[in-house]
Symmetry: C2
Subunit: 1011 residues, 2 copies
């Protein structure tokens, strides 16, 4: 309820019989009748009749087409299409569509509406319910745009209100059928001017999914106007305005001039990607070269300047009458380098300047005035833009000052260098080319949504805060699968106040809203949002394409099992929900938006994790490897059948849309994709004992001769539970018994939960697990206990003597530590298995500075969340000015601990900069720890960058001298763009255990006085 509502409610106590009130727009909005508020409702639909739409001949080309689409939306929910009339009818309810300058608005509505809120604005709309304006008793629902797109956005805002989702076509968000639509005052509003001027998406890398789908459904791999109409509609409904069309195997204007005409009619500003200047698509030159080589055959401004110039010229002439944001600049053919590898920076800058000069000359001559221009600072062009000490870059070339400099992320959704204050003063402003889909090094991602909104929020709010507000465009691949992040991206660009920097931790809320807007009820929407968050979390950890069997560690930190458990939980939930959605209107939508991505991604994750376990167990020759070998194959088959289902259900509407490879990229390109191999242990004949301890790859068989003792480190205060596995490597069931020395341990059979007695016999076909628990009350000050597992029906092997050394058994040496926590006050993290691991958000203290403070970005990154200093565009060279976080930890030993700082895989905002945080221990001065290598880190090309974007993490490392017992680690901000996720400290006497996500968080000890 807005302030106005409240104000009026207060007045209602006057109990005036009739009281009318005009709101801020001068519109009559309320009536009071006997103390009850009666709104000036607008009956859009009742008894199978809808209000007609009055669309005067207002001279805005395209508004008629768009009003027709709006009329169809009303039909979508009602089955009745409103008449579109050129003269105001005398009906009680009439819809009016126009712009500020429309005759009716100026002449009839001006007195009732504060038009100043619209005039001169970009893409703003006002919605009003006007009563008795022209005809007495007539109510007009007026949708008035500041301009054409304003009016369009206005209409689509009503469409959404009445239940037509922007995704009604693309995600089968089938509107609920209504018999009556009555709009009350809440419909009335004047929209804000969009935060970012050009907002749009790029259909890209569209083979084999979008392309083959287009061919099947629309007759050609080269999209036709019928298809583009659906795309334009989507863009506009999302309140975007800017499009880079599909260009892999199609030429937007060359294929169908109607495509460009339609865009222009519908109010879509066409652009083209970074390497497609002068309204020419990327492949156009190739297409023309083949069919009609009038422009020569070389895509080179050195060897074929004339031909290329003509090519550009003709493109500009062809498209000059349409609304365009013209791309300038040049790259090599097929999105490659422009010049040979040995060309200098200066060579490159010069040829680019030459080309741009020519392009600008052509634009001013053949497509003058209204066409703004854009140069994409893509990949290597960043180097040309910034130049170096010896070579001035394009940033210093004033020819470009009025053009939009479209910066680009690193293709992995991490922004690169952002403009400093000086650059931000350039009148042309800056844009950002962002990716939800990418085809290229180090590993392409062409398939599923793998963009957690928290990451998009972090990166794009930072971009905005650094002044990138002129154009935002995002590569969405095939559109399909990117419904959620695409909506979010455009909404963020459209209403930064609502979703931007100030709205920290609203991505979850956004996601719930997204599902509600698709039509799901609150409960389902909430659960769907959780699931969408979940699978993007998995993909945010590592994309399916880049995930292999060796990423999640099969045993360290129990990582494989922990990841699996989370997956099992999500897929179970998705099964329940899918069941619930069966045979509802939104069944298809749920399948596409939730069930398919959750389950397909789950199968891939499971497959790879099973594969890691399969390999480990096969190397250990445990027969349990074979179960995992089969599971791998089952996952492959399940994932295939899910994809088949996607392609065939819903009458095959989305056939081909998931047909790109999902998994096993061995290189950047999908053609080397590999499924994991299943390894099958050929079991030995007799039973064979194979024992391993949890959290270790170490294992042993029951050797008589070369006995290898396993170790199980325990700690009274932290890891007081150990676990070991008794596995079989033979065909016959293994019989064994377990004995131990040391009365302070208890051994528990995991499957039964029962405590073992000494020498208790066991038997297993495959494997049994046992927990080892410390019994504090039986502690005898001998830190060593020995567990022995004896084989009772083992293999027949050669053995020499009957003496004790040749008994087939396995020994596990249990070693217990104690931590002296007597002097601990408050909370601290305890060392456990040689490691202290802390989620960054679990600080003991957070110290704000005069300039900034740390905030938690919830659900950010690979584990719990991220900590980032805000405002986010400041560098903190002085420790005093830096916000800080401190952590209390308890070290088991004195020594040089290895400290690892896990931070998000962002790039420095400064060209060739760093991503440092300050690290201090106890009273020491802070030391800067760079979370990327000091040298050689280069977004989109260096090996360290590659690792970072695939792992979605940067790990900074330093050595910290800890004293035994309580220590305080303090992290403080230095460089912007650093989001700290996790802090891990490794005891110098422990071998660092590799794992993908790092050790799970350590136990937080809390001293409770009085106990």
């Amino acid at each position: 309820m807005t302030f106005h509502h409240l104000f009026l409610f207060y007045n209602s106590v006057l109990k005036t019989k009739w009281f009318s009130y005009k709101n801020q727009y001068g519109i009559l909005v309320y009536k009071f009748h006997n103390g009850r508020i009666i709104m000036a409702d607008f009956v859009l639909l009742k008894k199978k009749k809808t209000a007609s739409i009055f669309l005067e001949d207002n001279g805005v080309f395209g508004l008629e087409k768009m009003t027709g689409i709006f009329a169809k939306d009303i039909n979508r929910v009602s089955g009745v299409t409103p008449k579109i009339v050129k003269e105001l009818p005398i009906d009680e309810y009439v819809i009016y569509v126009g712009v500020c300058d429309s005759k009716t608005v100026k002449e009839q509505f001006a007195s009732r509406i504060d038009l100043s809120k619209l005039k001169g604005k970009r893409e703003v709309y006002g919605i009003y319910i006007l009563e008795d304006v022209i005809n007495a008793g007539q109510k007009i629902l007026a949708i008035i745009g500041s301009d054409k797109r304003g009016a369009i956005y206005g209409m689509f805002s009503i469409s959404e209100k009445i239940g037509v989702s922007p995704w009604y076509y693309w995600a089968d968000a089938k509107p609920k059928v209504k018999t009556e639509i009555i709009l009350d005052e809440s419909i009335c509003k004047v929209s804000k001017e969009p935060s970012v001027r050009y907002r749009g998406f790029f259909i890209n890398d569209e083979q084999p999914c979008f392309g083959n789908w287009a061919r099947e459904k629309f007759g050609s791999i080269r999209p036709c106007p019928e298809l583009y109409e659906k795309i334009f509609e989507l863009l506009l409904r999302l309140k975007g305005n800017y499009l880079w069309p599909a260009m892999w195997r199609s030429d937007f204007t060359l294929d169908h001039i109607e495509n460009a005409e339609l865009a222009n009619e519908m109010g879509v500003i066409m652009g083209a990607s970074h390497h497609e200047p002068c309204c020419r698509s990327g492949q156009e030159f190739q297409t023309l070269r083949r069919d009609n080589p009038q422009y020569g055959t070389d895509w080179s401004f050195l060897s074929n300047a004339e031909g290329i110039t003509e090519f550009w010229k003709d493109g500009l002439i062809r498209n000059k009458d349409f609304e365009n944001l013209i791309t300038i600049g040049m790259r090599g053919e097929n999105d490659s380098y422009l010049m040979p590898e040995d060309a200098t920076l200066e060579d490159n800058i010069n040829v680019l300047k030459k080309a741009i000069t020519k392009q600008k000359e052509l634009i001013s001559k053949y497509a003058p005035s209204e066409h703004p221009q854009l140069l994409a600072i893509y990949k290597e062009v960043e180097d040309y833009y910034f130049g170096d000490e010896n070579t001035k870059g394009l940033k210093d070339w004033d020819v470009l000052d009025n053009d939009i400099m479209m910066l680009c992320d690193d293709n992995f959704a991490n922004v690169r260098t952002l403009p400093d204050e000086e650059l931000r003063k350039k009148p042309g402003g800056f844009g950002m080319y962002y990716h939800f889909d990418y085809f290229g090094e180090p590993v392409s991602y062409l398939w599923i949504n793998s963009s957690p909104l928290t990451k998009v929020w972090d990166q794009m709010t930072m971009a905005y805060d650094y002044g990138i507000r002129s154009a935002w465009i995002v590569n969405v691949g095939d559109i399909k699968n990117q419904e959620l992040p695409l909506s979010y991206f455009i909404d963020l660009a459209y209403d930064f106040d609502k979703w931007g920097t100030k709205a920290i931790n609203k991505t979850e809320e956004y996601t719930v809203e997204f599902f509600k807007k698709l039509g799901f009820d609150d409960d389902v929407a909430t659960q769907a949002a959780e699931l969408a968050g979940e699978y993007t979390k998995w993909n945010g950890r590592r994309r399916p394409e880049a995930l292999h069997h060796n990423h999640y560690h099969p045993v360290h930190e129990n990582e494989a099992q922990r990841v699996l458990n989370r997956i099992y939980e999500a897929t179970d939930k998705s099964d329940d929900l899918m069941e619930k959605m069966k045979e509802t209107d939104l069944e298809e939508c749920f399948f596409q938006e939730v069930y398919y991505p959750v389950n397909a991604v789950a199968e891939i994750n499971k497959m790879q994790i099973y594969s890691g376990l399969n390999e480990l167990y096969a190397n250990q020759h445990k027969t349990k490897a074979n179960e995992y070998g089969k599971l791998i194959t089952e996952c492959i088959e399940r994932e295939r059948s899910l994809t088949d289902e996607f392609h065939t259900r819903n009458n095959g509407k989305w056939n081909h849309m998931q047909s790109v490879y999902h998994i096993g990229f061995t290189h950047w390109n999908d053609e080397q994709c590999q499924l994991p191999t299943s390894h099958y242990v050929n079991a030995v004949r007799d039973p064979r004992l194979i024992v391993s301890v949890a959290n270790q790859t170490d294992f042993t068989w029951a050797h008589r001769w070369t006995r290898h003792v396993l170790n199980m480190p325990l700690c009274f205060e932290s890891n007081y539970l150990g676990e070991f596995e008794v596995a079989n490597g033979g065909i016959k069931a293994l019989e064994y018994h377990i004995d131990w020395e040391g009365d302070w341990i208890e051994i528990i059979d995991v499957s039964t939960g029962e405590t073992l007695s000494k020498n208790e016999a066991g038997t297993t076909e495959v494997s049994n697990n046992y927990k080892v628990k410390i019994l504090k009350d039986k502690w005898d000050n001998n830190p060593n206990a020995m567990i022995r597992i004896y084989v009772d029906n083992g293999e027949v092997v050669a053995d020499e003597s009957e003496n004790g050394t040749s008994i087939p058994m396995v020994e596990i040496q249990v070693q217990a530590k104690t931590l002296d926590l007597a002097n601990v006050e408050g909370k601290c993290f305890l060392e456990e298995n040689g490691v202290i691991s802390i989620e960054a958000a679990h600080f003991t203290n957070s110290k704000a500075s005069s300039l900034a403070k740390y905030k938690e970005i919830k659900d950010f990154g690979r584990t719990l969340s991220g900590m980032k200093a805000y405002p986010q565009n400041i560098r903190f060279d002085n420790a005093e000015e830096a916000p800080a976080l401190s952590y209390k930890i308890f070290a088991a030993e004195e020594g040089e601990y290895t400290c690892k700082i896990y931070a998000g895989a962002s790039n420095p905002v400064v060209y060739h900069g760093k991503l440092s945080v300050g690290v201090a221990v106890n009273d020491s001065e802070r030391t800067p720890v760079n979370t990327i290598p000091d040298k050689g880190f280069d977004p989109w090309k260096s090996a360290s960058w590659r690792v970072g974007v695939l792992d979605n993490i940067h790990i900074g490392e330093c050595q910290l001298s800890l004293k035994k017992g309580l220590n305080e680690i303090t992290l403080s901000a230095i460089d912007p763009a650093v989001v700290i996720e996790k802090i891990v400290l490794w005891n110098p006497n422990v071998e660092i255990r590799e794992s993908y996500l790092g050790p799970k968080e350590s136990k937080l000890y809390e001293c409770r006085p009085g106990r």
Copy 2:
């Protein structure tokens, strides 16, 4: 027919009616009757009656027992047991058994026999047919020994003659039943004195096979006299005299004093292994310590000298009355080092001297006179024997001068340091402890016969030639499986003239004879010998226990397939023979001696080779990997069922005897044995083209983007045939077509043999192979041809453009060389695929020196044969005195070729010596190339030695500057003990292809004048 036969035949032409002739022994052997020779035949059996055996009370203890065994032999073939009588009966045919000194011999036979040929000899026997000696018309078959063993050998020689094999029990060589046995003159002979004084074997490492068999069949794992009788019998029948008893879980004398008494009775000289001094078995101390610790508990001559001394003393007293060759010296318990690791050489020598001094004192006091003594120079004792510059070794300690110094091989049947001329003068002489079975580093071999006779011949004749003639003993494991090499070893020791150095290349003949003596007819014996040679060849390349999937190369040199083909051929032949032997008397014998070892070894070799192919194809993601995955499992199952069959057939007579692990040792000990893992490719859904070229692991998929061109080097004169494989990595059948540029190649479908036309289509579920052939007549001087394999129904992947770079196909670049052979005269080996590989025996010239010449040891080593310089106990420091072999080769290019000399895995005969050969190219001086590392090679311990004994090869390497075209390589002898097998030269521009056996032999070009 001997000389005497011929002489008499000549006389027969006189046509004397009756003419009798006394042979060289003074025995009447022939009569002539009407020109027909009537032999003085001895009717041993006729009409179910056998001659009685007259055994006077001759005072030779044990002869009665042995005569009883001989009598049973007669029963074995006849079903009738001869009577053993103490008085000469008046029968027409009587067998007499005695020694030179027997009363009857001295009094009755002396005039008829030249006893000087027996008297004073060791273990000699004479067999005579005496007529009318005591009773008129009576024929006596006299078996007269120079001593007891002589007489026993005499009896067993007759047993063998009448068809009782030494292996009748141990190998089920069931004698043919006879109704009549008439011995003719050929039975009469005086045997030679054995070449080696002590000849025997050692039952060792006898768990789990022999031990468990003994328990099942004879009631205890500790063999009893009933079992030892069978062992003694075998030893004596083989004409051995010396035994080291089983000692893993048994104490020969302690277990049953009757064992020692029986040995003494039967004429078996008991010894004990190298670490069991003073008639005490190795485990005896442990057994006594446990049950009755009267000798203390420490097996240490430092801390428990008194106890140990008593222990030895009591052993000597206990066994002093039996015939013993007393082991002296001392090692650690369980065959380990005597002293801690930090003890100096001097410490070790001193403690050993101290122990030996004490032992000798005890022997002279408690077991004086007739007991010779033996010190084993086992493992580290060699160092104590030779000492070093600062420390005199045991060889310089005259206390040992009259004892047998038992040298030892390296446990892998390669002799170590051999005595030089000075040492050979020692009166005690030398022995050799040799191995057909070993439990220890680097990999044990406890199972099957893996000792090619050519190797035994090479090593043991070398030992003999170096003066090792006092004692030969061989470790035969469980006896079972070692029938052939054990027979050979003892025969070689018994009659070195017949089988030794002069009898080069008679091992094949020996093997045929071995099988004939088992009872097989000539044809079967010949084939059985071939098969025995074959499987020992495989094992001689690498023992099953040490063979893994990565030994034979899956593709290089087509090694896997070549080895497999040889295996398939042998197993087919064994199947045919087994079929033939079914339900004959020798079925069991054939199964044990031929069928089982051939097939079990074959399955293991196949399994590992399939595993190598499985891994390769799985890494290449070819679905054909899966066929090999299954084959691995099939081999495992077949090998198991063969072993089951061995254990169950023949009423389970040999149960347990193959129960030790056969395969997959990952360390020296069998308890870590592993079967190979089967890898299963999870195929991609659509067809996927995977192409590889023969002889290369390189392969490629049909990448659109990152195309990798395969190479196929060909040569007109040498490798004019190439081959490539078109394999599928997908579930669906792959469709493709093949096109090529270059008219001088022809492509042939291997499966049909048909020549392809351009663009010919193919389809495959799994894989198709194609040969590429050079067509000389179409040569167009362009050495490059390009083969392209296009996918016609490939995978759907992301691809950007329709231009040519994105066509899914594979390219194979064919490059052809030509060799200019115009000036070649005679023969030369041609370079082929960058390599020239020559079997050492295929020299162009062999140059003998004044001192020696090279001889071929046929079938020696891993491939064809070996070349060794004879006499084999000479070192050739001067090139002029060295015999040499030269090889003509044709190099494709000028350059520094890598030359690899493959030689047998022998050890230097000189303590810490080398194994060099001289290598020269064209007119260069020879350079010594050591086939072992110059430094650090140490038999039984260094890494280089380990590799050598497992690979059964040493490879010396040098660089040779070759000119383009014809070159001559000359190898000449330097060190003794080097047996050259193969010479390989690698072109410097070619990456050396790893393979186990090295490249197959190159093409031998021969210039034929006039063509």
